[in-house]
């Protein structure tokens, strides 16, 4: 199982087997502007879908990042501590935020595919 999905709160989720990699979308990055600080969750933390797990500060705003799925945080992108600008440079690649082990695959159905996300952004 391998797929990439999106949320209405502008996170992207790349799923490979039971592990989901999460970041913010290019659209979200453009809205935020230059990122100066990222507050990442602790590895091992159990999170519920929709819970605030991280926050991103840019020169003009602070935005919360929500867990797109329920599960356990298994890895965070420590590079962001010293290079938060990776989120602007490569939001859907090197600028990933954290990886989580999914506990409820049923929740995948609530996520958007790329086309639905693009349509959602166009409407917003």
């Amino acid at each position: 199982m391998k797929m990439k999905k999106y949320t209405k709160t502008h996170e992207w989720v790349s799923i490979e087997d039971k592990v989901a990699t999460v970041g913010i979308t290019n659209h979200a990055q453009e809205q935020l502007g230059d990122v100066v600080y990222v507050d990442l969750p602790e590895v091992g933390r159990e999170v519920k879908k929709g819970e605030v797990v991280a926050s991103i500060e840019s020169v003009k705003a602070a935005a919360d990042v929500y867990a797109p799925l329920s599960g356990k945080i298994v890895e965070v992108n420590e590079k962001l501590d010293t290079e938060p600008e990776l989120i602007n440079k490569d939001p859907e690649g090197e600028g990933w935020l954290f990886k989580m082990e999914i506990s409820d695959e049923g929740e995948l159905e609530d996520l958007l595919d790329e086309q639905a996300y693009q349509e959602f952004c166009a409407q917003e």
Partner: protein
Amino acid sequence: MNYPYIPHTDEDVRAMLDFIGVSSIEELFSSIPVSARSSLNIPESRDEFSVFKQLKEISEMNNSLEDYAVFLGAGVYKRYVPTVVYDLAMKPDFLTAYTPYQAEVSQGTLQALFEYQTMVCELTGMEVANASMYDGATALAEAALMSFRLTGKEKVVVARSVHPEYRAVLRTYLEKRGFTVVEAGYDETGRVLLEEVDEETAAIAVQYPNFFGIIEDLDYVRSRSGNALLIVVVEPVSLALLEPPGSYGADIVVGEGQSLGLPMWFGGYSLGIFATREEYVRQMPGRLIGQTVDQAGNTAYTMILQTREQHIRRARATSNICSNHAHAALIAAVYMSVMGPDGLKEVARRSYNAAHYLQERLEEIGFKLCFSGEFFNEFVFNVPEDYPDRWRKMMEKKILGPLPLEEFYPELGDTALACATEVISKEDIEKLLEAMK
């Protein structure tokens, strides 16, 4: 009727009324019920001269602490403040209740606050200090909340030798929100007695010197704190002599800043000191002023890291404090600058000496110390059962005597907390001894 200090002319008023389509001032306020308007029992206007005279008569009914020998400390201290401090601090340019959001018109205030933060860091041995909190008690409560954010844990251990009113505020802030406050007792030295803390504890809070005046052994506290953060409540003037808490690995240092140049007022306003380590700065509450350069490359000051604050982060802000005590911090900055490190040391040393001399004299007439630990400028001693009555009577002789402790520490029996600062003279002490006999 027109007054020279009300800038609106009759034409201005007419133009404003016409603009909103109301015929008269009376009509503008017509939605206020007549009963509410007529119930204001305000006398006819009078001339300034007679009002001033009447107010002066009323003010002369006050007792001024200037006329008292003050042996009551317990968190608020009578000190001598050089007149130049208020000449500078009360300049109208500085007197605003507003936060200096607009850096371009607030450089003076911002620089003073930046200097204040720097001096607080020097005194406490910490890396970053905010531009003030309300007072010592709320600063302690905010420190506990910050420790919960940092650790994800929900319990704080607080020494019983921390100011009783601070502990009460701590409980008010925390318990209704579901956090746990546990007290740790003290031994015969008057210092805190700690069990090894468990893994659920976010922080340990102690006071240094503590409420009994005893200088806590922060090495011991640190050795018992395990993975918990160490919060230290301080009296800033004492830090001119004592090793700063930062040297003992304190994580958050808070305190009451009244003794840095603020009068005792009538219970406030006062000044909350708050300092921490740089790595924790994003979880710190309160305003923070930073130094930077402007477009032309000149040194400039501005509020920084505002993403912690509620005007940016709303519900997830680090604190709901929106107004700080900027002017109190400014007074403290001027006081510390005027005194300098040597001046502050002298104030601290004189306070220490006066308190130790007072303790010796009390001992000579039979009043025994309650604790064996080394004290700074306050100490607990045993008093007769009728002391609280005598304490009240002393006030008639213009003595504010040592504080009876029974209300706060029933387990100590008949005791009182004495304080001496640099303004206490030998004559004051003899006067107290006479009243104690």
